[in-house]
């Protein structure tokens, strides 16, 4: 089957997650090798996902655990799980 750009857009996410049958992967790669728009699309989406995964997350707010414990203490002392 010959892949057009629309196919690539549909398979983009699965391709980047590696959740794609080998024959579809080959078709995607063959298309991308000769279509610079799709190649750029694939690269930039990949970069975004890497960027998100690598995002320096903010730390827990100071005192978060203590306040959580305070909130839970009363509940734990007075009620029972259903």
């Amino acid at each position: 089957m010959k892949f057009d750009c629309k196919h690539i857009w549909r398979e983009l996410s699965n391709y980047l997650d590696g959740e794609i049958p080998p024959n579809v992967r080959r078709d995607v790669e063959a298309h991308v090798a000769q279509c610079r728009h799709c190649a750029a699309l694939l690269d930039s989406t990949h970069n975004i996902i890497v960027l998100i995964a690598d995002e320096r997350r903010l730390e827990l707010p100071a005192g978060f655990s203590a306040r959580l414990r305070e909130r839970l203490e009363k509940e734990l002392a007075t009620s029972r799980p259903d």
Binding site: R67, L76, D82
Partner: protein, 209 residues
């Protein structure tokens, strides 16, 4: 979240049994490994720290109260995150009277066409390292519709597997994948758009005396 090794999972289930039979103090130990993740998930959906903390507290309270209904086919963390997402959604609903969901309901049906800019370039790898880029990405995530932000949060920020993400959101695996695709390309489009706007702006400032 990576699958817990069986012995760790067993220990977690054992601890849950002890909590259910009266050792309530054990609940702190049970939730300690997940405090950060629960807070972050709430934060990514709500984008306001104080709201996220309250929602996280609510989620833990609710988890304690309904611990007996936890079915052990799922990991405890999956169940806990599902409660968190639901609490965060409720908070969003309260925050605005009209839910935006209906406005975006048709997104997943629409055929996607990526933005192709005239001065197309891929997002350069070195941009990834810049603080400014990270801020831009945060803005773009915040600008996503709620259901897209949720799935990006779980799958790409928290690094959960597709199956676990689907379970938390109550979607079939197929629907979760479709939504993830839409969310990723929309995020990419937002980013490309803003990134290029910024770059052009900077260039034009440079040439203007």
């Amino acid at each position: 979240m990576p699958e817990l090794p069986t012995d760790k999972k067993d220990r977690e289930f054992e601890l849950i049994d002890r909590i259910l039979s009266g050792y309530h103090e054990g609940f702190y130990e049970l939730i300690a490994p997940y405090e950060r993740r629960v807070f972050m998930t709430a934060y990514d959906i709500l984008q306001v720290e104080a709201d996220a903390e309250e929602v996280a507290q609510e989620a833990f309270l609710k988890a304690f109260r309904s611990l007996r209904s936890f079915r052990r086919e799922a990991q405890f963390s999956t169940w806990l995150l599902r409660i968190t997402v639901n609490e965060a959604r409720m908070r969003l609903r309260k925050r605005r009277e009209v839910s935006l969901d209906s406005v975006f309901a048709n997104h997943e049906e629409a055929e996607y066409t990526p933005i192709l800019l005239a001065d197309w370039r891929e997002i350069p790898a070195e941009a990834v390292l810049r603080e400014e880029t990270r801020r831009l990405l945060r803005e773009c995530i915040a600008a996503l519709p709620e259901n897209y932000r949720e799935i990006i949060t779980l799958r790409d920020l928290n690094g959960l597997k597709n199956a676990e993400t689907a379970e938390i959101l109550g979607l079939s695996l197929g629907n979760a994948k479709v939504r993830l695709l839409r969310a990723r390309v929309m995020l990419r489009d937002f980013f490309v758009e803003r990134f290029h706007k910024k770059t052009r702006h900077r260039l034009s400032r440079k040439v203007t005396p």
